[in-house]
């Protein structure tokens, strides 16, 4: 079980704002997009056979003290130990999410090396990265219409369909309702699925 760090902007997130403005222009009549927010997800795995408890306290301190995880002048963060994060990841109220990662290995070895230079942390394995877009949407039937909005705002297909994820460089999963962390971890660890060209 990994420890988790979520980082988002507390100043205006212009990428999320632009995604909202551009996304609205892609929608069919009757569908509304109320808000889009963006967070960076970092997971901190224990070494094989180890437990996150061995490094979580030191990691929590490092997150608070280091200047390469969070810039407190413009960012807010949530650091959740393996115990605090619980079994599943619930979206913010009324939202659903698109979690995206690079198609290649998601490990950030550069970040780990920088962290260990300043904060020795026995037991820390891989640090992995992903990005989550939280979406507040409403379809013509009054539901969040996640299938429609994912097709319209998610993986890029052409000029009119897709926006947030370029499937040639990234792969994505839907976060609808409480998603087990074990599924999120598998999504980050396992190789990206083979690309299927849209018909």
């Amino acid at each position: 079980m990994s420890a988790v760090l979520l980082v988002g902007l507390k100043i205006t997130d212009l990428s999320a704002w632009t995604a909202l403005e551009t996304g609205r222009r892609l929608l069919d009549p009757g569908h509304t997009l109320a808000r889009i927010a963006r967070e960076q997800l970092l997971t901190f795995e224990p070494e094989p056979g180890g437990k996150a408890e061995t490094f979580e306290r030191a990691l929590g301190e490092a997150v608070r003290q280091s200047n390469f995880f969070v810039n407190p002048n413009k960012e807010r963060h949530r650091f959740l130990t393996s115990a605090e994060r619980g079994e599943s990841w619930a979206p913010p109220d009324g939202a659903w999410g698109i979690l995206s990662r690079v198609r290649e290995d998601t490990r950030d070895d550069g970040l780990k090396a920088r962290l260990l230079r300043e904060h020795p942390m026995p037991g820390l394995g891989a640090i992995r990265r992903a990005k989550v877009w939280w979406i507040w949407s409403r379809g013509s039937d009054g539901t969040p219409a996640t299938s429609y909005f994912r097709a319209t705002l998610g993986e890029l297909q052409d000029q009119k369909h897709g926006l947030l994820v370029n499937p040639h460089a990234e792969t994505a999963m839907l976060l609808h309702g409480a998603t087990p962390w074990s599924r999120v971890e598998r999504f980050l660890i396992e190789p990206a699925p083979a690309f299927r060209a849209a018909a």
Binding site: G110, L163, H168, A169
Partner: protein, 279 residues
């Protein structure tokens, strides 16, 4: 005289030097804002989307600009055979709009992903070495002699041509759409940093569509269009020429290695105009 639109999308920052480089090869360049009326675009014979940070690279480089009505109109003009050159951020726009490689028109078949080289990350700003490969875009953008090594600067964080579709990769290679590749200074295959600076598939620096009239090109030819722009320390004939020209303003105002891209474009546009004028 052929008229070229240099497309000024909010956030691009190379439009003036790109226009100057086009004028230097005898073309008439006009900087055209992205929100000009639809009727304006058809007045031009060619289009250049210059480098910069359109919409601050929000979401991904080129992602927002690719959805502009202006890009739709440029795509329609390209369909009629007019050339479109995307330089750096312009290349990212063309890829995100599905214009390159364009096997299935409009479908996005590629990405310009963040650079990836061992122990290197982020933005790259350096001179690189290129070789042109014969293909459908040669006449438009690479009228060079075989084996010629062309130094040119790159400046990007997301410049790695990438497709997850094996069929697209195979077709790009078999249909010879990689017009420019990164090579060693001697012209050999580049493997690893610094000669393969960003980890692009097939060491691609520039990829065209099948007709050859659209080129997504990551290096900056407008920053290498005059000899004075060549660094003194460059190790090849261009560096020798640059060192020999120190103190000689007339020589420094001579062409640089990147001008070949604009000269090729000008030459093709002029020959096409001459063909059209023939009774």
């Amino acid at each position: 005289m052929a008229r070229v639109a240099v497309v000024q999308i909010p956030g691009v920052n190379c439009e003036y030097e790109t226009a100057r480089a086009l004028e230097a090869v005898g073309l008439t360049a006009r900087i055209v804002r992205w929100n000009e009326p639809a009727s304006v675009w058809s007045e031009f014979d060619a289009f250049v989307i210059p480098g910069g940070f359109a919409f601050q690279d929000r979401i991904r480089a080129g992602a927002i600009a690719a959805k502009l009505p202006a890009v739709d109109r440029i795509a329609a003009e390209a369909e009629r055979g007019k050339p479109v050159l995307g330089i750096c951020n312009g290349a990212q726009v063309l890829v995100e709009a599905g214009l390159v490689p364009g096997f299935h028109p409009g479908k996005v078949e590629m990405a310009l992903a963040p650079n990836r080289a061992p122990r290197r990350e982020g933005y790259l700003c350096r001179w690189s070495w290129l070789a042109a490969n014969p293909g459908p875009g040669s006449e438009w953008y690479a009228n060079v002699r075989p084996g010629q090594v062309i130094p040119m600067p790159i400046a990007h964080g997301e410049g790695r041509f990438l497709t997850a579709d094996p069929e697209v990769l195979e077709r790009i290679e078999s249909e010879r759409l990689v017009l420019y590749r990164f090579v060693t200074p001697e012209g050999g295959p580049a493997s690893g940093y610094p000669h393969d600076p960003n980890g692009a598939m097939l060491q691609a620096a520039g990829i065209t569509n099948r007709a050859g009239n659209i080129l997504a090109f990551m290096p900056h030819p407008e920053r290498a269009s005059w000899l004075r722009q060549v660094p003194l320390e460059l190790k090849n004939v261009w560096g020798e020429s640059r060192r020999a020209a120190v103190g000689n303003w007339e020589a420094l105002e001579g062409p640089g290695p990147g001008r070949i891209v604009f000269e090729s474009l000008a030459s093709k546009l002029l020959s096409r105009a001459a063909e059209k004028a023939r009774p």
